[in-house]
Amino acid sequence: MFTMHPTLLVGPADWDAAAMPKAEFADRIVTLWRPCDPGVAGAVVYGSPRHHAELAYFTHFTPKLEPAIALIPRAGEPRLLVGGGVNMLGAAKPLTWVDQLLPLRDAATSITQWAAETGALALINGDAMPLRLREAVGKTLGATPLDVTGAVAATMHRKSMREMAMVRAGCATLEVTVAAMRQAHDAGQGATDIVLAGEQTAYRRGAQDVRTLFGRDGRLMPFIAPVAEPVDPLQVYVAVRHGGYWAEGFAALSRSASSVRRRASAILAEAIAAARPGMPHRELAGLIAQEIAPSARHFVTVRDFGHSIGLALEEPYRLNETSDGVLEPGEVYTMRVGLADNGAPAVVSAMVAIGDGDQDVLWKEP
């Protein structure tokens, strides 16, 4: 889901060696080289505050303020180029296991020099680079450099035990966040206060980031100006990030029973039951679409009924009727059912981990 991107990422993002040891990052780097030609000697990994899942995957680093670039050699220690001058490196150090931190200034020159020392380089997440930087990097790496972003994504979507623990922690925060919103709603609070109550709960549980959208009549809006009056039903979307990993959920908050919400929940339960390893994405999406018909789909499910989720709020594996993918063990999906019956809309969702033989519901709207 698109949410309003904050101008600075302020939440806790320090590297916790106990939760995610250096060895796990070393394993990821070893895996990085498997699909690469042996002639590739290093990788340039770009991350911006908005798009940095790959950078975080290899370095744990969250670029809170400005972009960062990891230079990862096939042999030897990686370097991390971080925004700001030398005097800003101190704030970057706790966020990563990488020892060698350097200022990002004149990144293109740094990459050129590193290429001269190292050899042929692959590029990861180059599409998120600003045009000028990407063009300058292109002069070193060639106009069409070897881009292994897709190969990395294919590795990232299967979560390790430690990653799964982070996702579970995020889901636990999501649970209490939505519960706090529901409680505030039941108490008759205004729409903004309801959302703020949820956000505060998430932050106080140590969430790294919290994003919300909310609105009446099934709409979803970012927070722009306070809405003081109570809204019933209030549709909310919440995404919480814990230890780098996202969990998200939709909830339709209402003090009265709603047939459309009940129906959406029933369809979701059916879809979850079908979400077993080996299940084709398109078949699962088709099942949901069939159950929703002849009702109209809610706008957030027009294209997809969910996607895999992890270090990126939206990973590229999508649950839709044209996807060629299948559910695989180790993946985590956000699954959504949204529909409108007689003009009354509702969206409900669940966080689902795909196991070896079945699925594990990590969170579901009650």
Binding site: M4, L8, V10, S48, P130
Partner: protein, 369 residues
């Protein structure tokens, strides 16, 4: 002072001078204090995802937003525009432009757009020149609405700072403080907050928060920058954890003096460089000349977006002449070898009479007892 419509007319007039039929503004939706947003200048709309705005010489505006479902909000914000909601901004934009095959185009926002978007634009519009100056020059002075929003953002910033003084204490981490303040400013109506917050007995710079716990003897630096209706305002403040030393008090008075020298120099007709020189002079007079240049300092303030960040930096190399309606930060934010980095700064509005701080209470060294 100008209205949004008057600004748009000024841009259209400039298009005519430049022989441009259309301006195409693009933005990726990653709102950042240092990156201007030409789509916001032309439409007033702060997007969730990549967005574009096409303006013709008559003032007709087409606003392209992603995701598709955000089009309804865009239409409310921009009732006079034709709004297109889609899931691929570049594709929708190219479709719109293809209806004007012979139009002379200028593009704004291309150089800072992500490669994945910008490359498609650059390939398709290889003959189009940059229109950054056309868009952002017209937005060098804020509109009446933007000034009102900046005042409200400054009010929220001061309340946010007051909250910081209430909750900061040894044992609380920088991150905990930062997220609580971010939440608090939202509860006051700010939709965003560029909040740099760090603490140390001797800070080298103001930096993003980490998990470091605040300790007795620290100096907390806080750059509090709420956004109200998309307009930022900032205050820069310094807090001593425990009783401040006489040395710290004296040095902080010096940076306040430097800031006031800058505010005093900021009048219509002066340049941004003049403001910087006035600040530097106060510090140089006390023997800190070498600390008035990189790597210790690169600017003494800056414009305040999100839409336009003109008039740019308070820096020696900025010749921009000040005029009424400009809003920007004046902050000495100086590293001194005896105390470390100290934050001190106010948002100001240039009026015919000079610089008016938007804050009710100017920076003063605070102490947590």
């Amino acid at each position: 002072m100008v209205t949004f419509d008057e600004r748009l007319k000024a841009i259209c007039a400039r298009m005519e001078d430049r022989g441009l039929d259309l301006i195409v503004a693009i933005h990726d939706g990653a709102h950042f204090i240092e990156t201007p947003n030409p789509v916001m200048v032309l439409s007033g709309f702060k997007s969730l995802g990549p967005a574009a705005c096409v303006l013709d010489r008559t003032g007709e505006t087409i606003l392209i937003v992603t995701p598709a479902w955000d089009a309804e909000r865009a239409q409310v914000v921009c009732p006079g525009a034709r709004v297109i909601g889609g899931d691929d901004m570049a594709e929708d934009l190219l479709a719109v432009i293809s209806q004007h095959p012979k139009a002379a185009l200028g593009i704004a926002g291309l150089s800072v757009a992500p490669f994945g978007i910008a490359k498609r634009m650059a390939d398709r519009f290889s003959n189009a020149g940059s229109a950054d100056d056309v868009v952002f020059d017209a937005a060098v002075a804020k509109t009446d609405d933007e000034i009102a929003w900046a005042r409200e953002a400054a009010r929220i910033a001061e309340l946010n700072y007051r909250h910081l003084l209430q909750i900061a204490r040894p044992g609380v981490s920088e991150d905990e403080l930062a997220i609580e303040l971010r939440w608090h400013s939202k509860s006051l109506g700010a939709e965003d907050n560029f909040l740099l917050l760090c603490a140390s007995p001797h800070n080298r710079a103001v930096q993003p928060s980490t998990g470091r716990k605040i300790a007795e003897g620290d100096i907390i630096l806080a750059e509090i920058t709420p956004s109200f209706c998309g307009q930022l305002a900032q205050i820069c403040r310094t807090v001593s954890v425990g009783t401040a030393s006489e040395l710290l008090r004296t040095k902080y008075e010096l940076v306040v003096e430097a800031m006031n020298a800058g505010i005093g120099a900021a009048a219509p007709g002066a340049t941004m460089a003049d403001v910087c020189r006035a600040i530097n002079a106060a510090l140089e007079a006390q023997g800190y000349g070498e600390y008035c240049h990189p790597p210790h300092i690169r600017r003494r303030g800056h414009g305040l977006g999100f839409a336009s960040i003109r008039p740019g930096d308070v820096a020696l190399d900025n010749p921009t002449t000040l005029a009424p309606g400009m809003v920007f930060m004046i902050h000495p934010n100086q590293y001194l070898p005896e105390t470390g980095y100290l934050l001190c700064g106010e948002p100001v509005l240039i009026t015919p009479a000079g610089a008016e701080p938007l804050t009710g209470r100017q920076a003063a060294l605070a102490e947590l007892s």
